[in-house]
């Protein structure tokens, strides 16, 4: 597998878009901390910006890269290398370079300005979100052969996870506010990796108190080690599941 991973990784890292993305993250990171007067506020600003931009850039860039590599993938298949290795190398190259861009861009200001344990959690969340959305992009590109449809699907997925899902949650909370829905809400958040990450991070910050009674329920579940482990397992599931489905489809796909 690493026979081609190195070359794909090098190719993506030299991509102008990835360099611009690194710079954008750095600007967001440094300005969040220098504009806010305390680091807790800074990390909150950064969290919201990262949860909005990182998924969008990761899913779009990965999908476009795969579509543009269609002929390259064909060429690789004509050589003695397994389809599985090609697909996983593409995934590794994309996820690796986007993660590296994230660490270089947002990681440095985080580690300088913020509390160590908070910034490590923030970095872990950013890395996992990046990899999740790269995996989702691979699934989208395998579902649609047509580039326009596939990229449309990635954008719809992003809108759903970043914007719509919150709305749906809020709607449910208002509609069923007479019932004890806090516990089902905890389960529902597992359906969106972005919301799951947001809650995980918020509970580490003092602002969790703003969440009120729901926050207390969340805290009870996510606040302890067991909850943390379960939520990280869920996040990992968001990586593994799309990747395995896309790999299975790719193995049988007509190119």
């Amino acid at each position: 597998m690493n026979r081609i991973l190195k070359y794909i990784l090098l190719d993506i890292l030299k991509n102008k878009f990835v360099i611009a993305y690194t710079i954008m993250l750095a600007v967001i990171g440094w300005s969040s901390f220098t504009l806010e007067d305390n680091s807790a506020k800074g990390i909150l600003t950064l969290l919201n910006l990262i949860l909005l931009t990182v998924p969008l850039v990761s899913i779009l860039f990965a999908a476009i890269y795969i579509y543009n590599s269609a002929e390259f993938i064909e060429l690789l298949i004509s050589h003695p290398i397994k389809r599985k290795d090609i697909w996983l190398s593409l995934f590794g190259g994309l996820a690796g370079s986007m993660v590296l861009a994230f660490i270089l861009g947002a990681g440095i200001p985080l580690l300088i300005y913020s509390d160590f344990s908070q910034s490590v959690l923030m970095l872990a969340i950013g890395i996992i979100i990046t990899v999740i959305f790269v995996a989702l992009a691979m699934l989208c590109t395998i579902i649609y052969k047509d580039k326009a449809k596939g990229i449309g699907l990635t954008i719809i997925l992003w809108i759903y996870f970043a914007l719509l899902f919150d709305g749906i949650l809020l709607f449910l909370m208002f509609q069923f506010s007479d019932y004890p829905i806090e516990k089902p809400m905890v389960a529902l958040t597992a359906l969106s990796p972005i919301d799951l990450s947001r809650i995980l991070m918020l509970l580490q910050l003092d602002s969790a108190a703003l969440l009120g009674y729901t926050g207390a329920i969340f805290n009870e579940f996510f606040g302890n080690t067991k909850g943390m482990i379960i939520s990280f397992m869920l996040l990992l599931g968001w990586i593994v599941l799309p990747l395995i489905i896309s790999l299975k489809k790719f193995n049988r796909k007509d190119l």
Binding site: Y7, I12, K14, N68, E71, F72, S78, H79, D254
Partner: protein, 237 residues
């Protein structure tokens, strides 16, 4: 060398190949021709297992192609349109394919030199013209001395001099006893190069004959005339 038995393939409702049977041997230079959409490219893609056949089997040197990827070591493939990652250099592409093939000995770099590409190793693929990319594809196909060469429209997009270099190379490899499969729409350039013609139509092999037989049976001087006269006689039937 390549045994194709009853291959069928359809994409949705559109059936592209309907029972193809072919037997190709070393030393042959086969031209795969036919109208657009007759299934040439699909057949090639099935041989390279880019497309999975619905029915039938392909056996290369006694090995079923569905049984593993090792058979691809015997094949050099030159695609019709070669597009490569923008930021890879020519040198990196060659290096990468070399590491996939896991060989550093017996490399055939004659095309690389005769195309005059020695100074281009550090050029990024994104900056190359279409013709130069075709040259990269050609170099990669011939580099590992594979016994089977599959060339999809090899001279399309090449300048006349490079096309001539490639044609000479193809003839030399045919005389070396390799099996060469070429698809082309330019019938005139196939003269002197190919020894057999496979004409495909609507997903079937319309005829498969050696060039000499074809010329003598139709009384024509070159391939394009011979094929035209066959097509005309079919229309008249």
């Amino acid at each position: 060398m390549i045994d194709i038995k009853d291959i069928s393939k359809s994409f949705g409702k559109l059936s592209v190949l309907r029972g193809i049977d072919l037997n190709l041997n070393r030393g042959q230079c086969v031209a795969l021709i036919g109208p657009n959409g007759c299934g040439k490219t699909t057949l090639i893609k099935i041989i390279l297992s880019m497309v999975m056949a619905d029915k039938g089997e392909v056996i290369i040197n006694g090995q079923l192609i569905t049984k593993g990827i090792a058979y691809k070591k015997m094949i050099g493939y030159m695609p019709q349109i070669g597009r490569y990652p923008q930021n890879m250099t020519i040198g990196q592409i060659i290096e990468m394919v070399q590491s996939i093939r896991n060989t550093s000995e017996n490399l055939d770099l004659s095309l690389f030199h005769s195309f005059g590409m020695d100074g281009l190793l550090d050029k990024k693929m994104g900056t190359l013209s279409g013709g130069t990319m075709q040259k990269v594809s050609a170099v990669l196909a011939f580099m590992f001395n594979p016994p089977i060469l599959i060339l999809d429209e090899p001279t399309a997009g090449l300048d006349p001099i490079s096309a001539e270099i490639l044609k000479e190379k193809i003839i030399a490899e045919r005389n070396n006893g390799k099996l060469i499969i070429i698809t082309s729409h330019l019938l005139s350039e196939l003269d002197n190069m190919v020894s057999e013609i496979i004409f495909m139509q609507e997903g079937k092999v319309a005829f498969h004959q050696s060039v000499d037989k074809l010329k003598s049976s139709t009384g024509s001087m070159n391939i394009s005339e011979a094929i035209l006269s066959i097509l005309k006689s079919k229309v008249n039937e």
